[in-house]
Symmetry: C2
């Protein structure tokens, strides 16, 4: 048979594309070489959130203890946590498998490869089979990347996949790369009592965020006695005598039980017949048009096209290509504001344009307004008052919101709506925010005096 | 001098009316007999949230312990917490006072009373003075009410004000009234280890909410071994031998260290010259038109008019009357959906129309769609998976959202926007929700199969 749609990769993008296409009546095959759910479920967002959730009492207690309001001790059993994580992942995969079955999506285990005109070859332990398709979605995702000298050895030098599979939490940890992945994992290690060192070649943590966000995060981490090394290039990191030995370009050496290398992720696009099919790769990213078409009848979505490395961006693209493949939509993909979140405590969130970006784009009409979390009773209640909400305006409309501090992830969905709808000052009173709530920090920031960006 | 605006009562409604009017250039006097911030700040929402925040580690630890992932003990020092609460309230009042000063609002301490044409008499320890006004805002708020036999004695029978002023948390507590106030305070007592008994004359806890919300809440409370007595009328509650003795109509008696009576709140509208000024009271609520005018040039907002007993509703009304008094708006007040939240863990939230209300209003076009929290990874991460999100639709538009479970308060602001904007199925994909997030439970509920209400 010829499938209406074949999807390679069952991460958030591929899985959702398969499900939505099947829901629209297409015959669908979904090819996956590993586990349903891809990186996000099995080796990324979800295990990290389960770690953060399970250890959240540690941080809550710590904050109240600092205020001399509480005392005590919380011990998280890492082995029990890991087993709970695995159980949750297995349960989720099972539910996903049932959903595919219910919708009539054929799940084909093996490695998919483009193999000639409208055909995909799937290789597995059972041999190779060929699937014919009318349309193809490539959703092969991404994997950790490394600079020379930073390659993980699986012993004491780990990538994020290996870190999430550890059997015990190290007592000391070096994190190379102060992006969201590294910072979330470092927060968990910290909650387990690990001594944390963070190294980054940039001049601040969370270097893709608003500089004030970086500063606020670093302020909290330093209070936690993290050793934060910025503007530092790493010459190499290796396992030596059962520990991780990191050498900076300066020659200085740092030793810890483990080193986590989290310097970035790159698309998985090599060796699956893309180039042979005439598809253009740039920095391994599949080049697509504004319908996510990389070639006639071949879509590429999610991390593989390199647009935005976020699960919910992949899912949103999946929704579009399912509709497009089913002939239900013709107009180009319109990406809305894509929220991004650093979970933990503190958290950071961003949606839309940041102050520095808006300023570069149109400094004449860019303004910002801010509110400090210290003024918010919910931040006070959790004794976690460092942080702020910043609203970026352009021509009198909200174009971006960014925030840092306790629980600010809860601002991201309303902020995404506000940015998407381009609120003006008049819109602010159209919605009643609950009192008290951390959400009011967003309202305060919206109402605050706007200042021109200098 | 004649003030453009005199405001009686410096709670959320009165304070905001004064601030906003001053911001619009009016000369304003604000009369308050007690503390800036009113009930909400001093004897209501804010102290309760500080209690819940300070004890949140107890509940987080409890949930993880139940999963055998964590162990330990968290002890909250109630005296230290109370002192922190008082410090926070004093700090907030001070900041509010400075804001008034900065805006040129004259704060007049004393009890305000309508005293003849466009005049307010203010009585304080210093004597009486008279203020002349062009417009008046009555924002006198509410106080706890009691049925006969349920009057607090300040010894072992307490109202919510007294409960919040306790010097130690009782080891056992009877809560009369299973509304949000009673349930939040009972949750705090539970976290301090108190044995909790809840008594309500209605057939379910949180009787104003969706019946399924009540059921989910009761399920959690029962797991906590709360003694929940529904359909029970209370004959009386008294202090006897240093403990609270409650007698049910059935004759059964219940004894605990303290009893909290939280059966409702009623407007503070008597003895301040309202009726003498020809203002109509119904059940003590000041009757107002759709400009919040109770009489020419006399507005009444907040709990005093009895529309909605919520601080943010009062603030929203305050915004309107400030504009109206300043001549900036003529159109009638348009109330948007007013969110309500039960904080704690579990939480409950509601905005817009509930299923049973929509069904009564127009059962032909009413549908509901639901998502269970158990499917959400963030609920799983916090080992608190009981609960759901329910979306109520009418004629294909979202008219209400209600939810119960861990952290669902974070859904209320986006839900308020969605209800206010009357989203249809097409709007759902206009905004990208972050993954993973509890917010996705709302998205799942929006996307779920809609069923006609039976």
């Amino acid at each position: 048979m010829t499938y209406d749609l074949v999807v390679i990769g069952a991460g958030p993008g591929g899985f959702d594309a398969a499900v939505e296409a099947a829901g629209l009546g297409l015959s669908v095959a979904l090819v996956e070489k590993d586990f349903l759910g891809g990186t996000c479920l099995n080796r990324g967002c979800i295990p990290t959130k389960l770690w953060l959730g399970a250890t959240s009492a540690v941080e809550e207690l710590h904050n109240q203890t600092r205020m001399k309001v509480a005392s005590g001790e919380v011990t998280v059993n890492f082995a029990a946590l890991q087993s709970r994580v695995q159980k949750h992942l297995a349960g989720t995969r099972k539910a996903m498998g049932m959903q595919l079955k219910k919708l009539g999506v054929e799940l084909i285990e093996g490695t998919g490869r483009l193999a000639g005109d409208h055909q995909v070859a799937v290789t597995s332990a059972d041999g190779e089979k060929t699937l014919a398709y009318k349309k193809l979605v490539v959703a092969t995702g991404s994997r950790p990347i490394f600079f020379p000298g930073l390659e993980p050895d699986g012993d004491c030098v780990l990538d994020s996949d290996m870190f999430l599979s550890m059997e015990s939490m190290p007592e000391s940890l070096i994190v190379v790369g102060a992006g969201f992945i590294g910072l979330e994992m470092a927060q968990v290690a910290h909650r387990f009592g690990a001594k944390v060192t963070v190294v980054d070649a940039m001049d601040r943590v969370a270097p893709l965020e608003d500089p004030q966000v970086s500063k606020a995060l670093a302020g909290v981490f330093k209070r936690w006695k993290w050793d934060i090394r910025l503007n530092e290039r790493v010459a190499g990191v290796v396992t030596r005598d059962g520990r991780a030995l990191l050498t900076l370009n300066s020659g200085e050496q740092i030793v810890a039980d483990k080193a986590l290398v989290a310097v970035g992720r790159g698309p998985v696009t090599k060796g699956i017949g893309l180039e042979e099919a005439g598809i253009e790769l740039l920095f391994n990213q599949i080049q697509v048009d504004d319908h996510f078409l990389a070639a006639p009848d071949i879509y590429a979505i999610g991390d593989a096209n390199g647009h935005i490395q976020l699960a919910h961006a992949a899912s949103h693209q999946a929704h579009y290509v399912a509709l497009h493949a089913a002939g239900k939509i013709e107009t180009p993909y319109a990406v809305g504001p894509v929220p991004s979140v650093l979970y933990g405590s503190p958290e950071a969130m961003r949606v839309g344009t940041m102050e520095n970006e808006a300023f570069l784009a149109d400094f004449d009409t860019t303004e910002v307004s801010m509110a400090q979390l210290a003024a918010n009773p919910m931040a006070q209640a959790h004794a976690a008052t460092q942080g702020f909400v910043k609203v970026v305006w352009s021509n009198g409309k909200v174009v971006g919101v960014t925030a840092v501090g306790h629980d600010v992830s809860r601002l991201v969905t309303p902020a995404a709506m506000i940015v998407h709808q381009g609120w003006t000052l008049n819109d602010i009173h159209s919605v009643i925010f609950p009192h008290p709530s951390l959400d009011e920090a967003l309202l305060m920031a919206l109402k605050a005096e706007r200042k021109k960006v200098q």
